[in-house]
Symmetry: D2
Subunit: 143 residues, 4 copies
């Protein structure tokens, strides 16, 4: 298990005519946090796609929308990674709004669970997670 | 209950560097089908937002990605609407690829379940589904 | 020269918090029309990327936004292709709104000029337009 | 005149099947930089839309694409604002890639010129730039 947070600012591109963030765009925010978590572990996806030739494909996803995010909001997207079998990672993720007031707790806007499979960059067939990534997933676990 | 299908073509804008449709963009396809289903029942969301002042907000969503869609693919997005309580609609949706070969069955690429709440366009507070929409939801049900 | 039009419907995904289509999304509509023009000439970009291994990259673009498009609008995107040298195509494009009233002329929302280069799918180096495409570009020209 | 730069990271959401950033998405990056420039001058667009009820609409745009950006790239988007008449701002913008090597100059990927009009948030009719914004535009000018 490994926990991580990434800040996201809401821009015009993210909003829709309802004045709030378009529901599909929260998935972009979730993915940015997963990518930055991977980078914080020392891995670039561009590099992993070349060697050892793997990319990560979302297999399934559950998201609960609780409160809408709006233009100019500062969000914090968290991401807790768990290995699931030899070829997948399960992420528990949360999108919260940073509240300007000092000491006010962040408001949860959305919660998601995302299962990501490790696949061959060419064939999209499942591949075992590389051991260095498995180690990164297991390492921070307290015991 | 009410069933409906809507064709979607995959363009460059929908794909990502992995050569397949970006995972968040399937949610756009799902929403197009829901919007067109609503239109097929005689309702424009632009008009509903003015009078009686309602919009539809996704409350939660589950999606299972089975096979990737690619550039130029012709997809068929289905949408089966069920009323859920007085202020929400539950959609069972499926994204399939039309296979060129005559009489080949369409391949299922993704399956989703989407709960949509009817909310006030200004306050985002829950509102009862208008009766004409409730009727449209119930009407096609065989019994 | 070759002229062509393609219908586009505006969905929630296209709009922004200002209640109108987000300015970058008009470029998606322009690209759909160019892709469909190419398809109408008998070419799929997926196939061209494989053999002869070319893709089309936008080199420069000018767009003038005249009136905003809104949710549910039915647009018509036109595209007039001109060859420009041996390795590029220049498109004159227009986005118009179809007006429901019988015999009302379509309203021009945006006008664009887009220069697209033919490049190698792997290296992104310029490549000559294949002769079958050159022919398609020249063929419909009246003289 | 006023100059400003904003960093942008390239994520999967930004790329397309050609393995590079989709051409419309550069316009999102340009807009983020303009928004952050405005914020750096002390103005939130959410607030300006409420009081004095103005939003900024792009009137026309010219962009030249020189080199493609790719997944994981770190970009720097600059933005130089000039007042143009009483109701518009003209931005000269540049997107560059930060090169990892120490002391290597950033590579220019795209250059754009964007004219943005100040319009009424409700009617989209042109409005004079508020004087505090005019002052911010003029202030940094050396003379």
């Amino acid at each position: 298990m490994s926990s991580f947070s990434w800040p996201v600012r809401v821009y015009w591109e993210d909003t829709d005519g309802g004045g709030v963030v378009y529901y599909a765009n929260y998935l972009k925010f979730l993915e940015r946090a997963r990518t930055e978590w991977l980078r914080s572990c020392g891995f670039s996806q561009q590099a992993l796609a070349q060697d050892p030739g793997i990319i990560f494909a979302v297999v399934n996803l559950r998201i609960q929308y609780k409160r809408p995010a709006r233009l100019d909001d500062e969000l914090l997207v968290s991401c807790e990674a768990h290995s699931q079998g030899a070829a997948a990672i399960r992420f528990a993720q949360r999108i919260a709004r940073r509240v300007p007031a000092v000491s006010a707790p962040a408001q949860t806007l959305a919660e998601a669970e995302v299962k990501v499979a490790c696949v061959d960059a060419g064939t999209f067939r499942p591949k075992r997670l590389p051991s260095f990534l498995m180690n990164a997933l297991v390492a921070p676990e307290p015991h």
